[in-house]
């Protein structure tokens, strides 16, 4: 019973995470591509409650000004945090073009909760919008993998014989591939001048088609054991076709395995997208993804000077931990 609550809680958390990312345009105060060339590497904006005019329940910020040794707050004017402000327009689910943002401050102040990157772009907005690419890549690639795995595993388990042997042979080949190098190699062979959408789809294709081997073997195992059960033999005896048996009896058996695999694969694939983008092989500028945002940290001076740019790494960790806990809860270990 306790486990069920845990699963619900985790699913709720995941739903919240995905919802925030899905409606990134609304939660992000700025356009992820908008450069403020006066604020490169601006540190995270501090929220204040007390200032020259005393204590406020509504937090406020100061405008950042740069001088010879970095940034300081211009304390002459306070800019209260506003809710539901009009700002740059963004695309919502590809259907609407609203311009309403959850939070914002008046110009010339900027609210950069996680600071700015090298081009003065708001890191927080980029983190949310970048999550769209990263999480969508993870989810879609997982779907692709599991669909492939389900088909291969079922066919293999159901028909056996040479079909089984050859399919499993191929899966062994895929299991023995050195992942990262293979991905780098595959990406290098693809055309270089492709649109961000094209790159994104390629990325999903490459990541998704490479990991099908392990879940396929698991599905095959389930199908194999299901096939020998008495009720299946009975159903077959009553004249049930292969398709009927699959739909009615065998596929439902594989459902649990696929779900657990999904919870394991999503964070893995989110990380795979980040790895490829980190090496400059994923979606390219100015579209953010967690991986290409982290690529800036390849430079030592950036890594040691601008800690807030590590935010996408934190987001990756959080996502992986939640999915990992969910996988654990879905498939409790028997002690």
């Amino acid at each position: 019973m306790r486990n069920k609550v845990r699963i619900r809680l985790l699913i709720l958390l995941l739903a919240a995470l995905h919802a925030v990312v899905l409606f990134a345009g609304f939660f992000a105060p700025y356009d992820a591509k908008e450069q403020d060339r006066n604020l490169p590497y601006a540190p995270p904006t501090r929220l204040h409650f007390t200032g020259a005019t005393g204590f406020h329940f509504r937090p406020f910020v100061y405008a950042e000004v740069s001088d010879s040794d970095g940034y300081r707050e211009d304390r002459t004017r306070e800019y209260p945090l506003r809710l539901f402000v009009k700002g740059s327009s963004y695309s919502l689910l590809g259907l609407f073009k609203p311009d309403l943002h959850l939070i914002g401050v008046d110009d010339p102040a900027r609210i950069m909760l996680l600071g700015a990157d090298a081009f003065g772009r708001d890191e927080f907005s980029r983190l949310l919008v970048g999550g769209q690419i990263s999480l969508a890549a993870g989810l879609l690639a997982t779907l692709l993998t599991l669909a492939t795995a389900a088909v291969v595993g079922t066919v293999s388990g159901l028909y056996g014989g040479w079909i089984d042997e050859s399919l499993m042979g191929v899966s062994e080949l895929f299991l023995s591939l050195p992942w990262l190098y293979f991905l780098l190699g595959v990406r290098a062979f693809l055309p270089l001048h492709v649109s961000p959408v094209g790159t994104f789809l390629l990325l999903i294709g490459v990541i998704g088609l490479i990991g099908w081997a392990r879940p396929a073997r698991l599905v095959r195992g389930v199908v194999l054991s299901a096939r020998t059960r008495n009720y299946i033999a009975a159903a077959r005896g009553f004249g049930g076709s292969d398709l009927y048996l699959l739909r009615r009896h065998i596929l439902p058996e594989t459902f649990g395995v696929l779900l657990t695999q999904a919870a394991l694969l999503v964070p893995l694939y989110v990380a795979a997208e980040a790895t490829l983008s980190f090496f400059g092989l994923g979606v390219s500028e100015p579209v953010p993804s967690w991986g290409n945002m982290l690529a800036a940290l390849q430079h030592y001076s950036v890594l040691v000077s601008y800690g807030w740019l590590l935010a996408p790494a934190a987001a990756l960790v959080v996502t992986s931990v939640i999915y990992g806990m969910l996988a654990d809860a879905l498939h409790p270990r028997r002690s």
Binding site: Q35, P40, H193, E285, P286, H299, S301, V304
Partner: protein, 589 residues
Amino acid sequence: MKAIARLTLVVCLCAAMSMASAPAPQPVSQGEELARVDSATGRYGGRLVVGQRSEPKTLNPVTATDAVSREVFERLHADLIEINRATQKTESALAKSWKMSPDGRTFTLKLRKGIRFSDGHPFDADDVVFTFTVYLDEAVSSPQRDLLLIDGKPLTISKLDQYTVRFSLPRPYAAAERLFDSFAILPRHILEKPYHEGKFLQAWPLNAPPTEVVGLGPFRVKQYWPGQRILLERNPYYWKADRENHRLPYLDELVFLFVGTEDAQVMRFEAGETDLINRLSSENYALLSKEQSTTRSQLADLGPSLEYNFLVFNQNDLAGKKLDGIARKQAWFQDQKFRQAVSAAVDRDSIVKLVYGTRGSALWGNVGPGNKMWVNQSIPHPQRSPETARQLLKLAGFTWNASGQLLDRTGQPVEFSIATSTSNAQRMKMATLLQDDLSHLGMQVHVVPLDFRAMIDRVFQSFDYEAAIMGLGGGDADPNPEMNVWLSSGSTHLWRMNEAQPATAWEREIDQLMNEQMITLDYHKRKKLYDRVQQIISEQLPFIFLATPNILAGAKSEVGNFQPALLDHYTLWNVDQIYLRNTESAGVR
């Protein structure tokens, strides 16, 4: 465990290395015509450690093509006449004096008497003749051979007596004495045999026995550890002395550590493992200047370099290349107004600020403010103006649709890609800024990061690119090394390679001007010709010039006579005069 074992080994090695002493400088003898330097007098001893981005490929100065090898072997060899990196003027080196004939076609060089190679063998005119015979030999195919050809004809060299040589040029050549700077004089007694046996190309690999790698430079090879480091020791016979007639160099040893990347160079420097950093990015410079007091270092910002970074559009002849997509876009690229519009839209100040952290300069031509001798001051520096850009595009027949997209005459949206090399973070940043600048004009620009080799192949060979951000220059301040870029037949005529004929009238004019400045001996006349070249380039914009970084370098505070310069090699050019103020602490390291 393995790491500890390795560390112990390194520590032992270092201890062993520091115990082995370098040879003492030979006492100065009567007949030796030493060169005197005028820098501050230093003290003998110590070892200078320099981090290098990668391992050199060879110690053979004739066949080397990479800059890293050059960094090392230039410390082992010397030239007849050298360019003083600080003053950018020529100075006597192995040739104590030279004379040009009035018609500018012959150079007579008097060599220093009584000086010796690093193995003690005396140096004379035979070595010089041998050296230039090798450099000019087609079978050796030295990358520097082209420099010795004028109008496709080689210069000739003859020995007048044991210490006099004469160079005859097929026609006058401006600033010809600057040429000698990059030709290392070879020891005939060592290399003549392999040369006659046809084995010259294999001579002097990195693992050659140190006794065989002989030169006239301030240092000679002591030991080489593949993949790790190369250790040089003092050349006890070196031909320069300080003000007090002490033979240079001051340093006992010079070590090049192969560390990999610029970031690794910085980390090693911070950790105190290296003493000197040759070229820093502005970000690393800012980082090191914050830690200046704790790392006890001296940093130098020398102002704008001679390098120029630019955007180039592919205007190559693509007939028979199966690149129809690119060929269609060339209608825009070949339109001067289109290029001018792009140039007007570029926010150069932001490039300087965001890419170089204000340690750089905006560029509007191929010669930047760092090259005071040759820059054309009258070239206009227009501020960024999207309005001007829009007007120019309108004049050229471009229109905008309802959503602000730029369309060409045929109604096609203007969309192209900019290739950059992943190995250069600064140019990648420029591409992102340009992408944003041009999006305000309604152009859709994709940034394509490419591996350096893939990029070079596309730009020089396959022409399978639309636009690219690249950098050139930085060798010498003189216009002559720029010939291969601006002559329509030049090997680096990037926007339109392999031209049989100049494709445009202005390219023809540049050809004439460049060829004329090459044979004009008077500086003011040459300057006038080169000013005109710069003017044509800034109007026609075969390259959209962006910015140039400052030369930034750093060294520990105990490094004396640290005088970095704008010309390559920025910090080690005067390594014979560099010394360590506190040699005891340097020795135990």
